[in-house]
């Protein structure tokens, strides 16, 4: 096996096992057994939007779901959030089954531990920014004082403090989605669902909000399920990426895993043309250190593209790759970068 960045061991926050979602006649009826759902999916009258999907999503992880239009990304997200009931299978949050939970209990979980951000914002036009952010808190019956405090905090976090009294119609798309984000964060949920949150924005604003999300996540450590169809977005924000096709998972892994070892031709096509220097981390490309002292150093977590400038400054020569604690992991030079990008021979793995 190849060497990859050491997977961070996380507690499982959200998991699903063998979930199926059928659409079509009689599809609302849940299936009693796996055999039943398989035969119903196979008989041709039902359409399987999700087939046999199992996932474990760790605490504090941004888990990205990718795929072409109609591949079932939204369906997966909505099954995880219980907005649609899977035809078969189980979804667990913190070890409690959401699928078997009663309505009242599910409502409590949603009021305290879930937030959602929508592609087209889903703001209520008659409420101000502050009113929109306060709404979920009002719904769960929070007292005015703690509510105001929570709203102020959420607005501060998302840089909206100055716009609290504006109406959604008076905001730009990017600002509106910040409100959506603030609203989802206001209840202090552990788990966020984001269905193509930035797809409706133009490229510059999209990047700005991606950076914002990364910045927020560094302080908040939420668990996020993030749907996108833009691989560069997945790479920027995602800790792990799942690639779907026709309702099935084709591959789940870190962005690096996926670009370096696509599971099949579909995934290979999917990631073809991706700028690898923005995906592969320095630690992955590093060779064992050949000395103990370097004039230049980069972080192992950084992408190769981040190291370009330092490499140039060092004349292309070997520079140190450091771990998060400043320890020496290895070294890279121009050759190592080229090798990593060409995918022919990676450090520690002779061609």
């Amino acid at each position: 096996m190849s060497k990859t960045t050491a997977p961070v061991q996380r507690r499982t926050k959200l998991s699903c096992s063998e979930i199926w979602k059928l659409y079509g006649p009689n599809a609302d009826r849940p299936a009693a057994s796996r055999d039943e759902v398989e035969s119903r999916a196979a008989n041709g009258r039902c359409f399987a939007a999700l087939s046999d999907v199992s996932l474990d999503i760790g605490e504090g992880e941004i888990f990205v779901v990718m795929g072409l239009s109609g591949s079932g990304k939204s369906t997966l997200l909505r099954c995880l959030a219980q907005l649609v009931e899977p035809t078969f299978g189980n979804v667990e949050l913190d070890g409690r089954s959401l699928t078997r939970m009663g309505q009242a209990e599910l409502r409590e979980v949603r009021r305290h531990d879930m937030g959602m951000v929508f592609q087209h914002f889903g703001l209520l036009p008659h409420l101000t920014v502050a009113g929109n952010v306060a709404l979920p808190l009002k719904i769960r019956g929070e007292k005015a004082e703690s509510r105001d405090h929570a709203v102020a905090t959420a607005l501060e976090l998302t840089g909206l403090a100055a716009m609290a009294d504006r109406l959604p119609a008076q905001l730009s798309g990017g600002q509106q989605q910040r409100v959506g984000l603030a609203r989802a964060l206001a209840v202090g949920p552990g788990l966020l669902f984001l269905d193509e949150p930035f797809s409706a924005l133009d490229p510059l604003i999209r990047r700005e909000l991606q950076d914002e999300l990364i910045r927020l996540q560094a302080g908040l450590h939420k668990t996020m399920v993030f749907v996108t169809h833009d691989f560069s977005e997945a790479v920027r924000v995602g800790d792990r990426v799942a690639i779907m096709k026709d309702g099935r998972l084709r591959q789940v892994g870190t962005p690096e895993d996926i670009v370096r070892q696509p599971a099949d031709d579909y995934v290979r096509n999917f990631v073809a043309g991706v700028d690898l220097t923005r995906v592969i981390r320095c630690a992955t490309a590093a060779r064992p250190a050949s000395r103990s002292d370097y004039a230049h150093a980069v972080s192992g977590q950084g992408r190769l593209s981040d190291a370009a400038e330092t490499l140039m400054a060092a004349g292309g020569g070997p520079i140190a790759v450091q771990g998060e604690d400043g320890s020496l992991i290895g070294e890279i030079d121009l050759h190592a970068v080229l090798a990593a990008v060409s995918g022919k021979s990676l450090a520690g793995e002779p061609a």
Partner: protein
Amino acid sequence: MTRFRPRAIWLLLPAAVAALWIAQQFSWATRFPKAWELPVAKTVSKSAAVVTDNLSWLTRLFATAIEVPMTLVVALLSEGGALTLGGFALDLPPLSWSGLALAVVWLGWRTGGPGLALLQALGCAYLLFFGQWSAAMLTLASVVIAVPFALGAGVVLGIVAWRMPRLDRWLVTPVLDLMQTVPAFAYLVPTLVLFGFGPVSALIATVIFALPPMARVTTLALSRLPGAITDLAAMMGCTRGQALWRVLLPAAMPMLLVGLNQTVMMTLNMVIIASMIGAGGLGFDVLLALRQLDIGRGLEAGAAIVVLAIMLDRQGRVLASGWSRGQAVSRRRGLGLVLVLGALLGTTLLGQIHAPLRAFPESWQVTTGSTMDSLVAWLNVNFFDTIEAVRVFLLMNLMNPIRIALASAPWLGVMTIVAMLGWVLGGWRLAVLGLGVGGFCLVTGLWDETMTTIYLCLTAAILSVSLGVPLGIAGHRWPRFGKLLTLAVELLQTMPSFVYLIPVVMLLRVGDVSAMIAIVAFAVTPVIRYTMAAFEAVPPALTEAGTVMGCTSGQMLRHVQLPVALPTILLGINQCFLFSLAMVVITALVGTRDLGQKVYIALTKADVGSGLVAGLCLGLVGILVDRLFRAAAARIAPQEPSSHA
């Protein structure tokens, strides 16, 4: 997807011929035998009597419950009066005209700026100077009371229909369809029997009449909400009630407000009609003037109805669009509101000592009544021959032939044709509907009246189409004319249907021609509107293609624009037919002999059975016509070329 049945058309002809042949051989096939009729009306009357006897405590309770807010509003807006609550008797003075007018103008200013304020001020001035103020306020009072009831009931019904799609499909939608096509008069009959002659009956009939659009709009608005909003409600952990009241309904508000405006206008329309069962107000004045042939007064009161309608409509529209632009949250209106309320109270109290503040001084009022009288007299003297010639021409060349053809057509033949038409256009369901509707008219013994109704509607539709389609096309061709036309159509549509009768009757006296012209004036508006919209919607790419091919404008019209616009125009004609049906009932007042007259007679005799049955006939015919037209429009609509494989 199209299930076109070319063979069905070949079946149509022989079947119709066969039916006609049978009809000529046997008299029972020409005229429906009396012995086959069922005593539907009698049965309904009897059961209604039973219901009335057993439910009188309920209706009385209901009536009392409504009476209190009603007296309050009527007292405040128009006449003043004593409100008795328990042991208390509260003597209420009417709010002063000066304060009310100020409040109306202020509201116009706040919400719509100087333009609306000016309009409202002019409207108030008309009502005051022409001595229509107190009647208008009485009418307004009925509207003010009926609207909340209609809104509340409409919204609740709409929510129920939205929650339970199956109930909606099988019960709510058909009932609403019927409620909208059964003429308003028909509601009056049972309410009259249940609640007696008076304002409460009028109010209830009004509410029933104005409720369907609100219910429809509510269901539509809720089901059209973006998925994100419903998901949001679920993800915030809303209970059902929270989801509805805190998230869904507020988000649907812009559309609901459009419904509100419609409800207000329909309420006004019905209030005018309901004046006849004792609500009083402008409608009553017009009716009285019509009966006494007091032309000047009738026109003035009629104009007051139009003025009131325009004032309500403009204000309503501005409020609705203001909300959707988010202005509803402006908080700086507190001071103005306090001032205006203060003025209202102040002038009312001062009015107790200083009479001109309370009631608009008579000496300031003007009337054009005598001028109008002499104008009409002059018209009648000088143009009698012309008018008469037009009247006779219409009668001889258009109306009588159609009337005679329909009246003498054998029922079996008509039924066959209707069923075949239904089958060709929309399959067996539509055929069954056609047979059902025809059968109902037959067994209730209302066949002749139904045919008279159809004759009136048909002639009106023919005239409306031959007038409206060219007008619509012209409006599209010359945008400036189109703007004028749109304005005129909007004005015509805000007017309560009753108003149309006034000028016609004054010039042409009572009779079929007057009725027809009133119907055309009312029913031509949808034809114009739909035609213009249809032409506007022709994709520019198509007309450009036509230009490039070198079409003359006539060729363009014939080969490009008309074919594309036709389905929409057909829907306009459908609306035109439905409008005509609604108006036919009202023209019963000027002595036509159709189903409307039946309802009207039943109304005066408080005969529930005949009233309901005749009303139902009208409603069913309306629904059948609607379904037939829709099926036809769907049939001729060109299939969209599919853009993807």
